[in-house]
């Protein structure tokens, strides 16, 4: 009886020490769940989810403070991917956060630009090039279409333009969406 208690106690102590050591030695930096959620978000940094960027939103989701349906740029695929990752049920986009729109790019009407740098300061990904009292321009390939530069512009010279579909970006339509075509002899 005594020996059994001693053996169990010894084992408990040994495992406790091992686990305690492992907890210190192999401590994970940051939160891996946040990273995985963040990697599914579209990184527009638009703030439509009411958080100041994609990473803060990912942190809020991980902490259970925000729902998974607050990302309009990601749309349904993002909600589905988040639901898969977190083993929840997908749900429709929260209308409060905005609506799903086709992807756009900011375009500055360059002759109208007064060079105030306000849009440069607003751009979360440094996709606007320019300096004080100099004309600004958008680096289209880096623009995420977040629209954050539109509101600060004092002369309303920034427009959001839909990206044209090219042969490289064209997608076959899903069959149900097209009228049954005559095909195949």
């Amino acid at each position: 009886m005594i020996s059994a208690i001693i053996v169990i106690a010894a084992l408990a102590t040994a495992f406790g020490l091992a686990l305690g050591f492992a907890a210190v030695r192999f401590r994970t930096q940051g939160d891996p769940v946040v990273d995985r959620i963040d990697s599914l978000l579209p990184q527009t940094q638009c703030g439509q989810c009411s958080f100041a960027g994609c990473r803060p939103y990912a942190e809020a989701i991980a902490a259970g403070e925000a729902d998974i349906n607050r990302c309009p740029p990601g749309g349904e695929p993002t909600i589905r991917a988040l639901a898969d990752l977190l083993e929840r049920d997908p749900k429709p986009l929260d209308p409060e956060s905005g609506e799903i729109k086709p992807r756009t790019v900011a375009v500055i009407d360059e002759p109208a630009c007064i060079g105030c740098t306000l849009c440069i300061q607003a751009c979360p990904v440094d996709a606007i090039l320019g300096a004080g009292k100099q004309m600004h321009t958008v680096i289209a390939s880096e623009c995420t279409g977040c629209e954050l530069c539109v509101a600060p512009c004092p002369v309303d010279c920034i427009a959001m333009v839909e990206e044209p579909v090219t042969i490289k970006t064209w997608k076959w339509p899903k069959p149900d969406e097209v009228a049954p075509a005559a095909e195949r002899s």
Partner: protein, 522 residues
């Protein structure tokens, strides 16, 4: 002819060949059109970049666009004339969208450019030199996929066998058969050049067993040339044998691994038309400016094969075939099984145009309404890529695209066999095409979002560093002010210093008026 052992690939369909009409006619010629429209992207890979400008006169065979990257191909003027514009025009593509093209107004002189040196004695050239010549001539795979040939030639070392694909991919197409019948020497010379470029000494030309005249012509030519490295093999005509994976399986019994390429298992596959183009490029210094196109279907008066300059509008091809019949209804590029409909006949012939079908109303069977999948499994039986089409269909329909990769969606060759056998008339191939383009789009989005994250984090870091620096400066100033507390003279010196700095800056600003940078004000 010795017939080696052959294997069979999984599934496939026995389709009636419909080439009786065009195969009976010799290869015809299409006159030089008034306008040539040459798309910059006629091949797999990056679009070419123009090297001419509007107003410039160009000669036949002169390069007008250079490759846009390693996987790319040059574009050459198909006749002499003047470049009139470089602009977006509709191109033959399932999307029907416009893409950048070079438009040449021809002058009818057909004056040739002679910038590429002809080398009839190509035996002295090295493999790298041959590849460079093939690349310079803008040769791409003429079987329909249009992959740059020089890139393919550079892909493998330690190859066992060069396979020349003379198996037509579709029941309507016979451009390869006609080429083999009329110009077997050019294909054989091309094979010799390719063997030298690959530094191997075995080549096998696969021709379907229902094309005895093509085989006969080839064998006669081989005998006349005394070439022992090249053999002709008759393969059973089962669709889609023209697919390189299927053909390799039939000839060797080996399978190309999923996501792999034939050189991984020691084989290289080229279309016979490509071989002929390679021969022309090296021996005669002629770039790829024309190709053989099968024009067929019940909608043309006299279906036949034509040698066509790239950039010629398809209407000219129909004209050369006697024009449309009354029942002409539908224009397809690339055959009845894998082809896609074209909106108009003004679209140009490009390097990938192997066939133009003008179908009559009777030939086009309207698609029956799709019924629910009954899980009969016919599609899996027939699939030449050994996939599970119904499984792919369920996932694609439900939008569960991530799972599709596990079922090897990207090994689907879109041959359409499953569509044909499906008793519920499901548009399976279209689901797979949709899913593929959708997944590619997601890959592109992922790349963009990774870039955005990187830039966002870099900006965040920069802002934090700036803020920290500002805070440090403020602290230093406060400390300096603390130090001089009670000492009137030192305080005055500090204030004078500051005033001087302000004045100096004002003077500088006046000098460089209008060039004030907002950044320096902070």
């Amino acid at each position: 002819m010795s017939q080696p052992q052959l294997w069979r690939f999984h599934g496939g369909l026995k389709l009636d060949p419909r080439t009786a009409g065009p195969a009976g006619e010799p290869i015809g010629l299409v006159p030089v059109p008034k306008r040539l429209v040459l798309p910059l992207s006629q091949h797999v890979g990056q679009p070419a970049e123009p090297v001419v400008s509007p107003g410039e006169r160009v000669l036949k065979g002169q390069p007008i666009a250079r490759p846009g990257g390693y996987i790319g191909a040059k574009v050459h003027a198909s006749s002499s004339g003047t470049v009139v514009e470089i602009a977006d025009h509709a191109v033959p593509h399932p999307s029907g969208l416009a893409a950048p093209c070079i438009v040449i107004e021809t002058d009818g002189l057909d004056e040739a450019w002679s910038g590429y040196e002809p080398v009839p004695e190509f035996a002295s050239l090295s493999a790298a030199d041959l590849r460079a010549r093939v690349r310079a001539a803008g040769v791409v795979g003429l079987g329909g996929a249009a992959f740059p040939t020089a890139v393919k030639l550079g892909a493998g070392s330690g190859l066992k066998l060069l396979i020349l694909n003379g198996a037509e991919c579709e029941p309507y197409i016979c451009c390869d058969e006609l080429l083999l019948r009329e110009r077997p020497e050019s294909v054989l010379t091309g094979a010799q050049v390719l063997l030298q470029a690959l530094e191997i000494d075995r080549c096998c030309i696969a021709v379907e067993d229902d094309k005895p005249r093509a085989r006969e012509a080839l064998e006669n030519a081989i005998a006349a040339m005394g070439e022992s490295r090249i053999e002709v093999v008759a393969v059973p005509a089962i669709y889609p044998e023209g697919g390189e994976r299927q053909l390799i399986k039939v000839l060797t019994g080996e399978e190309v691994p999923a996501r792999g390429v034939p050189p991984d298992i020691g084989y290289l596959c080229q279309n016979v038309g490509t071989a002929a183009a390679v021969a022309r490029a090296v021996l005669h210094g002629e770039p790829l400016i024309s190709r053989i196109v099968t024009v067929t279907g019940g909608g043309v008066v006299r279906p036949r094969n034509l040698e066509v300059r790239l950039g010629t509008p398809m209407a000219d091809l129909v004209q050369a075939c006697g024009g449309y019949t009354e029942g002409a209804d539908h224009l397809l590029m690339g055959g009845a099984m894998m082809g896609f409909p074209l909106a108009e006949d003004s679209l140009p012939v490009i390097k990938a145009t192997n066939c133009v079908v003008v179908a009559s109303r009777e030939e086009i069977r309207p698609r029956q309404p799709a019924m629910p999948c009954i899980r009969c499994g016919e599609c899996a039986e027939i699939c030449p890529a050994q996939l599970l089409p119904q499984q792919l269909y369920w996932h694609a329909r439900a939008g569960e695209l991530d799972q599709l990769d596990d079922f090897h969606l990207f090994d689907c060759i879109e041959c359409g066999c499953c569509d044909v056998v499906c008793p519920s008339q499901l548009p399976l191939t279209q689901y797979f095409r949709y899913a593929k383009t959708e997944l590619w789009a997601r890959d592109r989005d992922r790349i963009r979002s990774d870039l955005a994250r990187e830039r966002f984090e870099a900006r965040q870091e920069r802002l934090e560093a700036e803020q920290a620096a500002r805070k440090r400066r403020l602290e230093e100033k406060t400390r300096a002010a603390e130090k001089t507390r009670g000492d009137e003279a030192a305080r005055k010196a500090l204030i004078d210093d500051a005033l001087e700095r302000v004045q100096a800056r004002r003077a500088r600003d006046e000098d460089a008026e209008g060039n004030d940078d907002a950044g320096s004000g902070r």
